[in-house]
Symmetry: C2
Subunit: 365 residues, 2 copies
Amino acid sequence: MEDNHHHIENSEEYIGLNVNSGVAQPPSVNPYMHKVVRRKKYSAAEYVEGILKGDRSILSQAVTLVESLLPEHHAIAQEVIEKCLPYTGNSIRVGITGVPGAGKSTFIEALGVHLCGEGHKLAVLAIDPSSERSKGSILGDKTRMEALSVTKNAFIRPSPSAGSLGGVARKTRESIVLCEAAGFDTIFVETVGVGQSETAMHSMVDFFLLIQLAGTGDELQGIKRGIMEMADGITINKCDGNNVEKAQLAKAQFQNALHLFPLPESGWTPQVNTCSAFENINIDGVWKMVTDYIAFTKANGYFDYKRRQQSKYWMYETIDEYLKTSFYNNEEVQKRMAAYETLVNNNEMTSFAAAHKLIDFYNSL
Amino acid sequence: MEDNHHHIENSEEYIGLNVNSGVAQPPSVNPYMHKVVRRKKYSAAEYVEGILKGDRSILSQAVTLVESLLPEHHAIAQEVIEKCLPYTGNSIRVGITGVPGAGKSTFIEALGVHLCGEGHKLAVLAIDPSSERSKGSILGDKTRMEALSVTKNAFIRPSPSAGSLGGVARKTRESIVLCEAAGFDTIFVETVGVGQSETAMHSMVDFFLLIQLAGTGDELQGIKRGIMEMADGITINKCDGNNVEKAQLAKAQFQNALHLFPLPESGWTPQVNTCSAFENINIDGVWKMVTDYIAFTKANGYFDYKRRQQSKYWMYETIDEYLKTSFYNNEEVQKRMAAYETLVNNNEMTSFAAAHKLIDFYNSL
């Protein structure tokens, strides 16, 4: 962050990790480690023009603008997004998650290359608040998607590396707008199946794909409870070699389990299949699952309904996040928070009394 | 509500539905339909003294005070709760949910009578915001718990019938404090498995019991997704007559399904069994599931950890609810909300721009 602010003060603009440039990238997470180059500043109109022309370098800079923490960047970013809005919405947005080790990167590479081969334009974005805690950003390591990253029709962008989950997710959602305006018809949003990022992802994609591994409970410890119920489709990856039998069994187990769940709002019964991203087996089968879902939900009207709900969700989310932030980030409130937490912990004050005392104090400021 | 306010203006105090009085109750949901009788007003100290003595009538009036919407009632209610706090916490809190038709009332009656027979003192509370929408309150109809309601050691209280889910849940949680101070060692919190009430319930009970029926998907349409993953235990009810085989099958299916889920934070593997509340079969088996869980989590420290987390959760919940309420209930904000929703719906403005415009307006007030 320090480093970043330093650059900003020098009014240099950080150019995100554009793995399409073909320039070797450090495997690092932290975008602030990348070299900072001076660039011409564009007007909102110039950004929009470039994006609509599909200029990848301008798109990349616009995404950087969206990710910027500077207020002056915020204003122009919003203007660019507003102007791009009319040209968006005509894509398929797929959320992809799974525990580390499930083979997300290999899968995204395999499916991505397949789709680009069919003439699709694919943008791969990520939600990974953990990256700011230098835990290792997903998509951060270009070498993990060697083939896809040099594919002309693919645009890969690591997770914005700043702020709360809400903030990171908001930036990802705004980047979707820019990518769609730039003509990308397929959007992947990747996240790691270990946190609340999935809920955020679920609120911005059309189809939620869970990449699973063969095996039961023990192997799944990593994944957060509740995520399986968000999935519109599950694929058991690494179904190859002497793992095939285990994978087929897992497929049957998941199918039975999903039958015990109520049908999702979409009316679509979540599908389960197997694939091998590494051996490139049944990758098209997974994609068929997605396109079947899209056709199904467009037919019953759920597709548009969900997108409208998502827009409203984000409006309310943003409002709620703002309201909380201004309360919890208030220094005077923070000074008193711990004391009340202790009282509540020791059963010396009810949660409600403590809350009301803090609120009364906040309102008195 | 109208009716209610009328009474309040007459400064009469509504006496909740105390099914222990043995007085015939209307099967109705709506407490405001019950006759309103004048009562002596107690001081906080008198309430506390009565509660600690286990005076059921005073307990009932104290709960009514907690449920009251009147500010002047709020202050004294909080004082009573604070004074009761030191005498609370030594109970087992069990959340019970299931879709309408799963047989919750019959089950609660059977288990309740069993526990009271063993000398336990049982308080049955409910979270059911739908009651205010005159959808039919759970526990509202005394005739559904004939035997239990006349049991000396049982205290049954229908869902408070006012306000948001957060408000209703808060009152239920505060009522738990009063009931524990009154010497009730076992608390049931009932809710219907159709809404977010389960999340609220989950945040105030030690053990989450899901009452399920034999059968797959179709029969479970009623239950909300995600609820099954909250369960510490599932019992397949109505395992009697020619339903036994189906129930046994369902038990096996649920057990297999649960194995696919990661272990909950408690380290406890959710149990599944069968019972028949109607035929009174294996009701004690269900209770053993609960007591085993309590022993297990008290041994590994999760029991206390969870209760402390719940207290904090409610402190933050209350703060967040207040912050939202003051924004969304602001008339000026409300006037503008719909217009921005439309803009967002028609893709004419991003969710984020709309949110910020509303917030700027709110802050300018």
